[in-house]
């Protein structure tokens, strides 16, 4: 199965600190002991794990589906998704802010959230803006609002980055 993986600059895994090689298989047991396996994203999971670099990853054997990730016994970085860079990341955050702005139409009580998100967005990471936007939607419309915003985020990413939507 092909999936996606966000890494810090230099192919560094955010929690284990593991430096991912390109092209060779990495076994979960040996190096990347993050819980029980190699963590990766389906397209719908992308907005939850946004970091500096996005990679396409091939996963092997025994793939477990989590709520917002998949876990495999082994994985191999195939290629970097070059389209995901600082500029697109800023565009993505702007799109999140725009949707929060749309949320306030006819809902004056959401103005406070919008003002906060607008104020914080320039200093926040894409992951933080995505979370703030989803929470703003949650405050207005409950759990469904949260899901709606997260779905919109992943659709934006898939479209802008040209990812195969089945992708996982």
């Amino acid at each position: 199965m092909t999936a996606y993986k966000f890494l810090r600059a230099g192919r560094i895994a955010p929690f284990s600190g593991f430096e991912w090689p390109v092209g060779s298989w990495v076994e979960a047991e040996t190096r990347v002991a993050c819980g029980a396996g190699i963590h990766a994203c389906r397209v719908a999971d992308l907005p939850f794990w946004l970091l500096d670099e996005l990679w396409e990853i091939e996963l092997g054997d025994e793939i477990t589906q989590g709520a917002h990730k998949v876990v495999a016994k082994r994985g191999r970085l195939v290629r970097r998704v070059d389209a995901w860079d600082a500029e697109v990341s800023t565009e993505f955050a702007a799109a999140c802010v725009d949707r929060v702005r749309r949320l306030t139409e006819g809902r004056p009580e959401a103005e406070g959230h919008l003002a906060d998100v607008v104020a914080w967005a320039p200093h926040a990471s894409a992951a933080a803006v995505a979370s703030l936007a989803a929470r703003a939607w949650e405050a207005a419309e409950g759990g469904d609002g949260y899901d709606t915003e997260r779905t919109a985020q992943s659709a934006w990413l898939a479209g802008r980055l040209g990812l195969h939507p089945a992708g996982a």
Binding site: G112, H113, D116, R135, A139
Partner: protein
Amino acid sequence: MLAMPEIEAPLPEESVASRDDAALVAALRTGDEAAFTELVGRYGGLMLRVARLYVPTRAVAEEVVQETWLGVLRGIGRFEGRSSLKTWLFRILTNTAQTRAAREGRSLPFSALAQREVGADEVSVDPDRFIPQGERWAGYWASSPRRFDDLPESRLMSAETFAAAKQAIDGLPAVQRAVITMRDIAGFDSEDVCDALGLSAGNQRVLLHRARSKVRVALERHLDEEGAA
């Protein structure tokens, strides 16, 4: 032709320590006084601190340490090295201390005290540090904590910081003090600590969390004060 000395790969720290312990045990069996002195130097202070968790006075704790070493000498012939010397030593120590505590009439076991400590309602971080319920973004940090690892190592690992940590640990409820002393100071794993104190893994973890959280608060306060000074 001269024989070239073989180059040895440096051993990881842990195995240097265990080889040393093993060598000292072997020497101790032959009655080597220097080996005994070295082991007492290595573990004596820590043993006293752990004994002190069980018994009411320093004088009694010193007797427990003395009794433990006598037990060690008597049993050294039977020590097979299946567990580390340190684990074996502290198992004798905690058994001795427990027996002694019962005799001193201070026999309420840690497991009973633990129920009370676990049952207490407490939070790890002052609730005022978070945005209050009912406001936007409730539960987020109201102001960000400051990184400790940005501080110079000489400041973080200073005598003053150590004193602040020690004072915080001394002020902990008995079981939390015992758990953090054995886990984080003495370096035992959770299984050993649960055995020694008669705690469930869950209670041990809750109390360790509370203990560490209080020490963290003390360090934060100390480092902030220093920073402001």
